[in-house]
């Protein structure tokens, strides 16, 4: 765990980025001077470095930031090159019109391709893209439009000086675009998708939309580069427009420079080109082998490339998105995070101090029951009668009818019916493999029911995409926590906040307030992976709460939590319920949930074997048999 002091140190290095812009500015001036004064060879080298830098940024956006490794982005370069050539040859367009048209056509083609291809993951997407690039090359070779497989010259050819100057500005634009992405809503969503797509959907983010957007931006840049390449070379042929060596070199550059970073692609393009030239003079034969070895070293021993080496010294670290809008002084409702902070409820004893107590022992939670059973009233009625009365008056929020899910011959869930009312806390218990998590997956849209219907606020949500369900108001946590390793705690909460709020100020205010409420303010700049397990789960509950849900589904959220953390969760739930939100909790640790649950469903082998108020259900001999084995009755009721 990183101490507060260290995290402050990080915070400072994070907000001191000015020197990188100074060095970048000097490099820009040097490049422009070379473009104006250099010889033909030098400016051509400059053009090639800039071309690779643009391709590297293009690849970095889809593969580095979004995590979809593509071996076929060169296909969009080829499309751009061909469209530019056609514009020049057929329409007599000027070079910049042709290049822009190249970029735009690449973007337009990327939309349908992205929708289809981005459903694939990992190696499938990578090689599927390779296949598409090959098909593009074959089409270019066999069509007679622009010279077929022999190629053809284009009329407008730029001088190396002019082309390299233009290319320098495209690099600057690509850099600025990447900088903006790393500090904006879009980039935050992309990085979350790279870390964990499922958890991003659960945070209410339409992952398909953001992935396709990233793919289109990447394709536009590659297509633009292709158009400018045609202008520079003055010739077009399938072999060089869909040159797979360009693809290889581009990927090498990003990996060596630092994948997913702001400066990595540029550093990689410059360093690999310079090393390549130097090696070419010394070892013309071994040059490529050495570059391959560098890639291998980068991937295996230095996954972040050169930039990660600088990061270790505190340089070039990514600044968390919208970090400057984070506030620690958000006016908030009374702090509920620690048992001692909870306002006194008349007639109810305060909880016993639980710190350092036996882990297995759960703090006395009877004080919750008073207002949980009937929000707004603090009368200490008997819990049983309060719920049964309330059940008649409250509106049904979530209703599942005859839910069945079969995996092959196995029914993970059969004919399950669940009903949740506003402001109710419902527990779903049952042994391992009873179908509890399947039930949650069906409700939240991560899985589709074989039969049955789910309605939320009287509308059917069966078959809706997970992000829609999350936004509509059914939020969930996962059984094994799913943190975003490369985001900070702050960004984790912000992600869910922006799914719900179009306005930046509202989203940041809510995320700040939740961070304070969870007592994670000191950890705001840490990766959730570095948090202790209890806090990580708290953060995940916070992420779900950022969606302002009407129903909160907790999948063993309190497993492995310390007693005081459980108390904190209970306090949070209490607040949530008082606002009319319902909670459905899967729990294995019965004492962690039964004291606050008003209704309990018991599942076993996919079938609901019992339901009702806590006391009735836990006393039911069928439940005791199925769930706890025989002879354990005393201990559960304790």
């Amino acid at each position: 765990m990183i101490s507060f002091k260290e995290s402050m140190k990080r915070y400072q290095t994070n907000l001191k980025p000015s020197w990188q812009w100074i060095i970048g500015g000097i490099a820009l001036v040097v490049a422009i001077v070379i473009a104006f004064t250099g010889s033909g060879d030098q400016t051509q080298t400059l053009f090639s470095i800039c071309l690779f830098a643009v391709l590297a940024y293009a690849w970095n956006i889809i593969s580095g930031m979004t995590g979809y490794i593509s071996f076929g982005q060169i296909g969009f370069f080829g499309i751009g090159a061909y469209v530019a050539a056609i514009c020049q040859l057929q329409l007599n367009s000027d070079w910049y019109v042709a290049a822009l048209a190249g970029g735009l056509v690449a973007l337009l083609i990327a939309i349908p391709l992205g929708v289809i291809m981005l459903r694939l993951q990992g190696i499938y997407f990578a090689l599927g893209m390779l296949g598409l690039a090959r098909i593009g090359q074959l089409i270019a070779s066999s069509s007679a439009l622009v010279g077929g497989s022999q190629g053809e010259s284009v009329p407008v050819v730029g001088t190396p000086q002019a082309t390299s100057l233009v290319m320098i500005f495209v690099v600057v634009a690509a850099l600025a675009l990447t900088w903006w992405l790393l500090h904006a809503r879009l980039g935050l969503c992309l990085m979350a998708i790279r870390d964990d797509e499922m958890a991003t959907q659960a945070s209410g983010i339409n992952t398909t939309f953001y992935k396709v957007t990233a793919f289109c931006i990447s394709s536009f840049l590659a297509g633009l580069a292709g158009g400018l390449y045609t202008w520079n070379i003055g010739f077009i042929d399938p072999g060089s427009a869909f040159n797979s060596t360009f693809e290889l070199q581009t990927i090498l550059m990003v990996l060596i420079g630092g994948i997913g970073t702001l400066w990595g692609p540029l550093l990689g393009a410059i360093i690999v080109s310079i090393i390549g030239q130097a090696l070419w003079a010394q070892f013309p034969q071994q040059q490529q082998i050495i570059l391959g070895a560098l890639t291998l070293i980068a991937v295996v021993w230095m996954p972040g490339g050169i930039v990660s080496l600088l990061n270790k010294r505190g340089w070039l670290r990514r600044t968390p998105v919208w970090a400057t809008s984070r506030r620690e002084d958000i006016p908030d409702m009374p702090d509920l995070s620690r048992p001692t902070d909870i306002p006194e409820v008349p007639g109810v004893s305060r909880p016993a101090e639980s710190r350092g107590a036996n882990i297995l022992e759960v703090p006395d939670l009877s004080w919750h029951l008073a207002d949980l059973s009937a929000p707004g009233s603090a009368k200490s009625e008997a819990p049983g009668s309060a719920t049964s009365e309330a059940q008649q008056t409250r509106a049904t929020v979530l209703k599942c009818n005859g839910l069945t899910r079969r995996f092959g011959g196995l029914s993970a869930l059969s004919n399950c019916a669940i009903q949740v009312e506003a402001g109710q806390i419902v527990a779903v218990i049952g042994p391992n493999g009873a179908g509890k998590t399947t039930l949650f997956n069906l409700i939240t849209g991560f899985d589709r029911p074989s039969e049955g219907d789910i309605s939320f606020l009287e509308h059917s949500i069966t078959g809706h995409a997970p992000y829609r369900i999350a936004r509509e108001g059914v939020a969930r946590t996962f059984q094994t926590s799913r943190p975003f390793p490369s985001l900070t705690a702050w960004e984790t909460l912000l992600l869910a906040a922006i799914a719900k709020n179009p306005s930046r100020s509202k989203a940041t205010a809510q995320a700040s307030s939740m961070l304070n409420k969870l007592h994670l303010s000191e950890q705001w700049n840490n990766s959730p992976e570095h948090l202790p397990p209890g806090q990580r789960r708290l953060l995940e509950i916070g992420r779900a709460l950022m969606l302002q849900p009407r129903v909160l589904l907790l999948d063993e959220a309190m497993a492995g939590m310390a007693p005081d953390e459980i108390a904190l969760v209970h306090a949070l739930l209490k607040e949530v319920v008082s606002r009319g939100c319902s909670v459905v909790a899967i729990e294995h640790v019965l004492p962690a949930i039964t004291p606050i649950a008003q209704h309990i469903y018991v599942l076993d082998f996919g079938v609901t074997i019992a339901e009702g108020a806590a006391q009735e259900v836990l006393g039911n001999p069928i439940v005791v048999d199925a769930y706890l084995g025989t002879g354990e009755k005393e201990s559960i009721n304790a």
Binding site: L127, L255, L296
Partner: protein, 290 residues
Amino acid sequence: MQIYLILALTGLLWGGVYLLMATGLNLIYGVMKVVNLAHGDFIIVGGLLAFSLFTTFQISPWIALPIAAALLFGVGMLVHRLVLAQIDMAGSQGELRTLLATFGLSYIVSNTALLIWGGQYESIPFLQDALKIGPLSFPKSLVVCSGAAFVLALAVQLWLTRTASGRLVRATAQSELGAASCGLNIQRVRLFTFALGSAMAGGAGVLVVLLIPMQATTGSLFGVQAFILIVLGGLGNFVGAILAAVILGLVEVSTGYFFGANAASGVIYLIFILILMFRPQGLLGQRGRI
């Protein structure tokens, strides 16, 4: 009518050639969940090694076959030790990192091959005479290659399902954690699997070079073709791979006959993309994470 028979048989035989190139990759993926992008380059190394042995020492490809397999076995062990074993597969980026690592490896192997053998296309004039079956005749090399492929695929399937050592490998494939907790040294199983898969690539190269001229940098094409085949069959499924080989061979040979060579090399990628869209688990694969 006879032309269809010839197309069908030729397709079947060429399917066998693809299967030969894919079996090692399939084994490695099935056990390790690693797609070795350098697989095609290993095939090329095997083929070009046999070519050198044949032209400089007049060593028959039959003898070159075990030599190439043994050499690639060693290369595979080395690669696993130095590269793959260093990558934490359990981490969130494990699979992608192995992909990028073998991508770099492919670059190294193909350029080393380029350094050693130069850039010309090479083939071995061996078993070139025709084998007559009734009125039809096929090159002997094609028949041998194809026969070897089906025998190898069946042998691997039998080894995995019928022997004790195969069971160790299957256990590792199904659950590394479970296998490890039963006292298996899974790192050794992975090492052996990767080396064996690489050896299969080397051996395949020796046979394929009799049929297809090879050049140092064309390995990635073989690798991608092999990958498409095992995706079509269902990753890690050997029976599915045989079926996929037959389908791919028939489709490619008949497309080539009716529409020309360009269409034939494009149709493979088209099939690949259609499979990914409509049946990503492959013909006989289990629907899993993709």
